[in-house]
Structure formats: C-alpha cells, structure tokens
Amino acid sequence: MASTSMSTPQDTRSVPKKQGRAMSDAWFSVLLILPAMIIIAFFALYPLFYAIYVSFQLADLTAGGIKGFVGLDNYRTVLFDKFFWESVRTTLFFTFFAVSIEVVLGTFVAFLINGATVAKGLIRSLLILPLATAPAVTGLFWRYLYDTQFGLYNYFLGLLGLPQPNWLGDINVALWAVIMFDIWLWMPFVALIVLAGLQALPKEPFEAAELDGAPYFRVLRKLTFPMLKPVLFLVIILRTIDALRLYDAVAVLTRGGPGSTTETMTYYLYRQGLVFFRMDYASTMALLFLYAVVVAALFALRPLLNMFGCRAAAI
C-alpha cells in the first residue's frame, strides 16, 4: 500500500504528518487482532492449564477441594474406568448413526428441493425453524411428545397400528429417541447446506451431459457427487464435531438414563465434575476428550481447508 507519497489530502484533518509512516502495516494488523486474540488465548488457554493442573491433583470438592499431587493416578483411574469407556462407546454410537442418517436424509431432501420450481423460499424458511430453537428447550418439550400415555408420537403410531415403544424408558430405545431428536434438529441444516452447494454448481457440465443423453444416475455418480464432495465433507465434519459433544439433548430428554444408556461423554463428565464433584477425574477426562478432538481435527481439518483453498493448509 503506497501512501507515503500522498497527494494533497482533501480533508485537512486527515494525516498527522510524521516522518514516513506513523505505524507500519504489520503493526497495525497485529494491533487490530490483539484484543480478540488476548481474550481467546487467555480464556481458552488458562482453563486448559488449570485443568492440567487439577488433573494431577486430588480434587474432591466435597472433601475440601484441591490438594495433593498424585501424579498420573487420575489418568490411570480414568483410563480404566468402565463407565468412562461406556460413555465413549455411547458417544461414538450416537455420532455415527445420527450423523450418517442426517447426512443421507439431508442430502436426499436437498436434491428434492433443488428440483422444485415453486416455493423454494418458503421451504427454506420452514426448514430453518428447528435450528432457531434452543435444543435444551425443544428437547424438553419432546419429552412430552415421547410420553407413553399423553405423547403424540405413540398416538400416531397407535393409529397406524405400529408398536408404541417406551421412548425414553426402554434401554434399547432411549438412545434412538435421542438420535431421532438430533435428526429432527439437524437434518434441515444438512439439507440447506447441501442445497446451497447444489445451487452453486456450474451449469455447463450438466447441460453437456444432458445433450449427450447421459442417464440420470450416471450423472449423479460421475458429475454431481464428485463436485459436491467439499460441501458434503464440510457438513459431515461440522456435524460430527457437534455430535461428539452432545449434551443438551441428553440433559433434558433422558438425563443419561435409563441407567446410563444415553450417557454421552459430555454428560458423564458433567456428572463426575458437578454431581460427584470429583473435579480431578472430570478435568482428566476433559483433557483426554480434548486430546481426541484435537487429533481428529488435525486429521480432518487439513483436507477440509485444502478443499476450500485456504492458505492455512499450505504445509
């Protein structure tokens, strides 16, 4: 930006005439990001270090707080904790099924909408609605919908002559009830994003394919999906990261129950830290959780950013 040699400023108040520049571009740019970065760094890193500190201590808040260095014992306890690994299994199970169903259904719906000629705006407006709600609030109301006596779901199932499960009470069904809620909440999200991706695709290849008389499914396979790959990948990543951290729905729908069948990692962590007040275990688990997420992010983000042409992935 060459502005050291300035033409006469029209606004006489504009530039204080110092020697050369008042501040170089580099300093200016750093100054701008400084407040935000300080906050992010401080409040992201300080809890991290605090958690690391606590994870090496004995920290039972009911027994007087943080005291006593115990080395790696907390890690040993957590790594051999049956319930911890149960919660990991539950989280992975939930993530796998919720995300895959959401993505498949959402993509299907996106294709449906993309081919529609009327009311696209209305359709999109309606699809957005679940996303505007707080999962904790609507999730709570879904308890009423899932009710075996008064709930609408079992009522409709009864009308159709289908079995009426005990959605939130049956240990085999409860996790699927949570999955169904998550699908209701996020399938529109997937649909909208894939729809945007579809609408952004260039028209020429498809027109050429149509002129060549290519069959619909061949076009889908060879043309549409390869071009949609970045968007699909982005959507899968976004949903997976959020699904791994599931808490709201579990907290209001099932509270981890029945038993511990819907206890996701976040919920188990919350229970350890704020119900049993074992902050040492909770901090340790949180760190392990964080480690897993960072590793996953490292593997997933690089190709993602590459696909979107970001410079950050230049290495």
Binding site: L72, Y75, L79, F80, Y291, V294, V295, L298, I315
Partner: protein, 83 residues
C-alpha cells in the same frame, strides 16, 4: 513461513508424546511389576518418538529448501543463458 512449519512439526511431536503416554498407561503399564520403571520407560519412549517426528520434520524442511534452491539455481542459469 519457517516459523509455522516448525510450529506444525513441534505440535505434532507434542501430540505424539502425549498419545504415547496415554496408550502406555492403558495397555502397557499393567504388564510391569514396578510403576516407577514403567513410567521411566514410558517417558523415554514418548520422548523418543516425539524426537523422531521432529527429526523427520527437520529433514523434510531441509529437503524442500534444497529442492527450492536447486530450482532457483536452474532458473538463474537459464536467465543467464538467455542474456
């Protein structure tokens, strides 16, 4: 650019260090009679693998730099020949 490359390598080495520790604590430590020896061996292994990652990283950076310099050299040569 060089700073960020080094940061990348260092961060990955750090993650490896921790990862080895985690896996060791879960699977390998029960095989040891004495906790102390296990911890010492764990630290040695973890540091070792992390250092390996750093060495590999430095080697790659050096290779790239050499390749880049070779490219520049050939460009200079063709430039000179063109004169």
């Amino acid at each position: 650019m060089v700073f960020w490359q080094m940061w990348e390598v260092a961060f990955q080495a750090f993650m490896i260090f921790i990862g080895v520790g985690i896996i060791w604590l879960r699977f390998i430590e029960p095989l040891f009679p004495s906790q102390q020896t296990s911890v010492i061996l764990m630290i040695i292994t973890a540091v070792g693998l992390a250092a390996a990652r750093i060495i590999v990283g430095i080697r790659k950076v050096r290779q790239e730099r050499r390749a880049l310099q070779a490219q520049i050299a050939t460009l200079n040569q063709t430039g000179q020949e063109a004169k």
